[in-house]
């Protein structure tokens, strides 16, 4: 629909009272698009790294997620098994096809049944690794890729997320900066999900009910002693 395109642009320019931008105008927009300085970042985030981790935990819990702090990745399989047992949940999990997760000592908890891949309608629990955690709001940043399918964040009833404590950043602006740095030119994944607590709705008389369409439970394993 090329005709429509030109007509829409013409109509916009007519409203703005000018023709297409000239070289200088285009250059100014290009510069604006390359300017990645953060805007106003709330002062509540002015803390040292330990303080940011505390803030992240406080706000994630405030958004109805649960957080368990582990002193190393070695403890992850035990923590997963204990969490499922404590909530009376089945021992089957869909796991992101992520070599880092795969290397964990799952054999120490042989009752856990792990299926790597994307989440299917039958998967009750999913586990994946977060790209970052945002202290400002207690938010997880999940980045889609072949090692981190998006469906794991939305299809299962229970979502378990592994987050390295060193990956907690101040704001989502820092998540964007980290993506630009680590993923290069085409840095945006198909999906970047900023997740703050489990799914919820207030559509019936404004009463908040968790687990509307996405997970009913969001459990964050916050792991020290790892760069992951």
């Amino acid at each position: 629909m090329t005709g429509g395109r030109e007509q829409m642009l013409d109509s916009i320019r007519r409203g703005l009272g000018r023709g297409p931008l000239g070289e200088a105008g285009k250059a100014a927009i290009a510069a604006r698009l390359d300017d990645h300085r953060a805007g106003i970042i709330p002062a509540r985030t002015r803390r040292d790294p330990a303080g940011l981790i505390e803030l992240f935990i406080e706000l994630a819990v405030g958004a109805a997620a649960t957080v368990e702090r582990l002193d190393g990745p070695r403890r992850i399989p035990i923590a997963v098994a204990d969490y499922l047992a404590a909530h009376d949940l089945p021992r089957d999990l869909v796991m992101a096809p992520d070599p880092w997760l795969d290397r964990l000592l799952w054999a120490e908890r042989p009752k856990l049944k792990l299926r790597p891949g994307r989440a299917l309608a039958t998967d009750a629990t999913g586990i994946a690794r977060a790209f970052a955690g945002v202290a400002e709001t207690g938010t997880l940043a999940m980045v889609s890729s072949e090692t981190s399918p998006s469906t794991i964040s939305f299809v299962p009833d229970t979502h378990i997320v592994v987050l390295g404590a060193s990956r907690i950043v101040v704001s989502c602006e820092e998540v964007f900066a980290r993506l630009r740095r680590e993923a290069g030119a085409a840095f945006m994944p198909r999906s970047l999900h900023l997740i703050t607590g489990p799914s919820r709705t207030g559509d019936i008389e404004q009463r908040i009910v968790l687990g509307a369409h996405g997970p009913r439970r969001l459990h964050i394993l916050l792991v020290d002693g790892t760069e992951a």
């Binding site: 604006r32 953060a38 805007g39 945006m188 198909r190 709705t201 207030g202 009910v209």
Partner: protein, 480 residues
């Protein structure tokens, strides 16, 4: 949807007498107003963020052509397609063509006011494609064949008991005597009914809260996660968005996100903020294979350069509805179309024409609360006044109002005569009020005094009182 904006006065009268509606509306004041107040109080930077957010949108709108082209090339580079649609009809046909090419039988939909604006559901239904609304509120009103009554909470006009009745009648194949007396049970039932639909749909349609020119991303904010299942599971994801949704960079989106959820529901951040960029990558194991963005004009570009341009900053947070005494008194359906409350009173005449929607800008007490809570600092009352002027100029105002206002205009242009006539009128009203101080009936204004008394004036005009008040101060020769 078919607009019934012309019937606004009648709709409003009916709404005021609707008992369940009034009960449901009571929740708004108790809920969202308070939550917003708390969220704003907890963020000292809120006012500065409002100013920054409004400036970002103003800049984008002033260069909208350039940003749209940039956005398009980023989407195309990543394997997506942008469709430019001037009208609702073009957008409907563009979406239908995609659905036909994919042999779609059902499409899932995330809540989209633009889809309501273009009447997408009826259109798809008429072409043999079943649209499935997935947002809980939209699901409820789809079963009831109703229009949304609020831009972020489409079923806010219903009580829990009404939702239960709706599910009992509309969810088939379940025991008819099942227990439905709890919000948890209702949410679970909707979840179970909709789950298989997500997996069956060939196409998923969502709106967008922002389109990011820098990256070609569509940003979608929800609390339920329905828009994510809608876009991730089907073969194609179609984003339907007005051209005003553009922002330059990811950082700009982040700034506006800080005021969006706080203004809408009083949350610091909604549960899910998703940046969708193109179709799934070559090695991804999930995500849609096709990514389409339908850019809709439908009257928006015609607002540029007019006194209504500022409404294009609107991020559809709903705060102006939640704080409006008219909206919280009559609900959204009385407005007769998709966009309701103060933002609807400004936008609807722009999109449907003042002949169709000329009543809406009158649905205001000019209390100014909408503007004071609008995160994008949109001067809503001023724009409603502009519409009233236009309506008046277009000779569309009811005859009696026109006559009254032309009398007033006649006197207002002749100050001496105005003072004399107003003085006479004030003395006459004071006499009528007598010792009671109230005027029980007023000639020519029987409709107004039928339900209220008018406080009788003191017998002097405002101008006379002002002159008396000003004299002593003038004598002292200085201001306090």
């Amino acid at each position: 949807m078919q607009p019934t904006t012309k019937d606004f006065p009648e709709n409003a009268r009916r709404a005021l007498g609707d008992v369940p509606l009034q009960a449901a509306l009571g929740n708004i004041a108790r809920g969202w107003q308070e939550k917003r107040t708390q969220a704003v109080a907890a963020l000292p930077e809120f006012e500065a963020l409002r100013t920054a957010a409004a400036a970002i949108k103003d800049h984008t709108i002033a260069h909208l052509d350039e940003y749209l082209e940039r956005f398009e090339s980023r989407v195309t580079e990543q394997g997506g397609t942008v469709h430019w649609c001037r009208s609702a009809e073009e957008a409907r046909h563009t979406i239908l063509a995609i659905c036909h090419r994919l042999n779609a039988r059902t499409v899932t939909k995330g809540k989209s006011m633009v889809a309501e604006e273009i009447g997408l559901n009826d259109f798809l239904g008429g072409h043999g494609i079943a649209p499935v609304e997935t947002d809980l509120g939209e699901h409820i009103i789809q079963l009831r064949k109703e229009a949304p009554s609020h831009i972020i909470a489409p079923a806010v006009h219903l009580t829990q008991a009404q939702v239960a009745e709706t599910f009992r009648a509309g969810h088939h194949g379940l025991p008819t005597n099942r227990r439905l007396d709890d919000a948890r049970v209702l949410v679970d039932e909707a979840r179970n009914v909709l789950r298989p639909r997500y997996f069956a749909a060939e196409v998923g349609i969502t709106g967008a809260n922002f389109l990011v020119a820098e990256t070609g991303s569509a940003v979608i904010v929800t609390n339920e996660g329905n828009a994510d299942l809608t876009q991730l599971l089907p073969k194609a994801h179609i984003v339907l968005a007005g051209i005003e949704k553009l922002v330059p960079t990811l950082e700009d989106a982040a700034t506006i996100l800080r005021v969006l959820a706080r203004s809408a529901t009083g949350q610091e951040m909604a549960a899910y903020t998703t940046f969708a960029t193109g179709p799934r990558r070559a090695r991804d194991v999930d995500g849609p294979e096709e990514f389409h963005v339908v850019l809709l004009d439908n009257g928006r570009s015609a607002l540029l350069g007019t006194e209504f341009q500022d409404i294009l900053r609107c991020i559809r947070c709903g705060a102006c509805l939640n704080h409006c005494p008219v909206y919280t008194g009559i609900g959204g359906h009385a407005y007769g179309w998709v966009y309701t409350g103060p933002m609807g009173a400004v936008l609807t005449p722009a999109l449907l024409g003042v002949a169709e929607a000329g009543h809406l800008p009158n649905a205001s007490t000019f209390c100014g609360r909408c503007e004071s809570v609008c995160p994008m600092r949109i001067p809503l009352p001023k724009m409603m006044r502009h519409w009233r002027e236009r309506e008046f100029a277009a000779h569309l105002a009811p005859h009696a109002i026109r006559r009254g206002l032309s009398w007033w205009a006649f006197f207002a242009r002749r100050p001496a005569l105005y003072r004399a006539a107003a003085g006479a009128l004030a003395r006459w009203l004071a006499l009528m009020g007598g010792r009671l101080g109230y005027v029980r009936t007023l000639p020519l204004a029987g409709g107004w005094t039928a339900v209220r008394d008018m406080p009788a004036p003191s017998g002097r005009t405002f101008q006379q009182l002002w002159a008396m008040r000003a004299q002593p101060a003038a004598k002292k020769g200085s201001r306090p």
